[in-house]
């Protein structure tokens, strides 16, 4: 049997789910960003102006939207909740801290 070769095509950490990332270096129409354990080079064509230190919503190798720090915290909590659910955690109330609790 032939050996397997897996080839990631295009960007390597894209998703329909977005993740918040912080810009650490600008490079023309791209920015090197970090967030949620990832280090990625994102296109910044969607955004009019960006600066080192800005938080952006990253998806499919693109910085889609600038985020406030409050929004970053909110999105990270949602993604933490999703990760916990995928790992079989059943008590997910802590991922919905400021809303009326479910029954």
């Amino acid at each position: 049997m032939a050996s397997k070769l897996r080839i990631p095509i295009g960007v390597d950490t894209a998703m329909c789910l977005g993740i918040p990332m912080q810009i650490i270096e600008l490079e023309g129409a791209f920015a090197w960003c970090e967030g949620r354990g990832r280090h990625e080079r994102l296109s910044t064509l969607w955004l009019e102006d960006v600066a080192v230190g800005d938080w952006v919503y990253a998806v499919l190798g693109q910085a889609r939207e600038k985020l406030t720090i409050e929004r970053v915290i909110e999105i990270n909590l949602a993604l933490d909740g999703l990760t916990a659910a995928m790992q079989g955690e059943t008590d997910l109330d802590k991922y919905f801290p400021d809303l009326p609790a479910s029954k």
Binding site: R6, M15, C16, R38, L45, W46, E74, T83, Y95, K103
Partner: protein, 318 residues
């Protein structure tokens, strides 16, 4: 402390023998967001959906709100949601001016994208119309016939209203969410699906349709049925369904409420239609010439980019 989140992928595994593709496996792996939504209240679901979906975020939000309203008995006749439509059109613009040029060996039209995206965001239809008449963009469209290697052999999902969908799918299921079917077969959703399925080239039909959606908006066409169309219908007491036409195709949300709390939540995303194990990729690649692996890989890349998954994809040679 935030953790790494696996956000899914499409995996295409090709088996080759005697210079031919003898096996095509297509597997879409995406996190099941609905498990996080069960047991939650309407405001919690809205907050969660708005926090997680960066692609088609407006479409996902609209689908969630409409589905939960439908569960309370409120229907929504098909209509254009301009915010959802503009979101989809910006996606089309990115694909047409940045992805398509790469497939054609053409320089990316970055400046045109920036101008066009701004025109769409600001509702400046005339500006977009002028941009689309640009010779460099017209030149791209002229070259679409260069890759007529993918004939349409697949059923095309028509644009449905939520009410129409009940006749075809009285209820959705988890299995349907993973492997949706139209009249017993896999089907392609998204641009081209509203027309007949006899066009000869999937590649050019798909890309022309994206350009056409942009031109229709720029020309002032606002009739329901285009990308950006939303609708919702009560399925049964406490159960609602919403349909939204996104850039990648049909998005469906179906929610069952137990009082004020979500008892079940089902999402059927366009990627599950377009990357069905028995879908277009399988039909196009099974039996294909595999003697030139680079050429085959380019063909796979062309097909996948044209179908446009909402997650990254990987090719594996078995």
């Amino acid at each position: 402390m935030t953790t790494y989140t696996d956000t899914g992928r499409v995996l295409i595994r090709l088996t080759c023998s005697d210079g031919q593709v003898t096996g095509v496996q297509v597997n879409s792996e995406r996190p099941d967001v609905s498990q996080l939504l069960r047991g939650r209240t309407t405001p919690q679901v809205i907050r969660m959906v708005s926090s997680m979906f960066a692609l088609c975020g407006h479409a996902q939000m609209r689908a969630a709100v409409l589905a939960m309203s439908a569960a309370r008995g409120e229907k929504c006749n098909p209509s254009i949601d301009q915010e959802v439509r503009r979101e989809a059109l910006r996606e089309h613009l990115w694909h047409c001016l940045l992805d398509l040029p790469q497939l054609l060996g053409h320089v990316e039209l970055k400046q045109e994208f920036v101008l066009g995206a701004k025109a769409i965001a600001n509702g400046q239809r005339d500006d977009l119309y002028a941009l689309l008449s640009n010779p460099s963009i017209q030149g791209l469209r002229m070259r679409l016939s260069e890759f007529d290697d993918a004939q349409i052999s697949q059923k095309l999902l028509p644009r449905l209203s939520a009410k129409d969908s009940l006749l075809v799918w009285p209820r959705l299921s988890s299995e349907f969410c993973r492997h949706p079917m139209w009249k017993g077969a896999a089907a392609v959703t998204g641009a081209i699906t509203s027309d007949d399925d006899s066009a000869t080239s999937f590649f050019s039909a798909r890309w022309h349709a994206r350009f056409d959606e942009l031109t229709k908006w720029a020309s002032g066409h606002d009739v329901a049925g285009h990308v950006g169309t939303v609708s919702a219908v009560p399925v049964a007491p406490g159960i609602g369904r919403a349909l939204v036409e996104t850039a990648r195709g049909l998005l469906m949300h179906e929610v069952a409420m137990d009082g004020d709390v979500v008892a079940d939540y089902l999402i059927v995303a366009p990627t599950e239609w377009n990357f069905h194990p028995q879908g277009l990729l399988h039909a196009q690649l099974f039996g294909a010439d595999a003697r030139d692996r680079d050429a085959l890989q380019q063909r796979v890349s062309r097909l996948v980019t044209t179908l446009d998954p909402c997650v990254p994809w990987e090719l594996e040679w078995a």
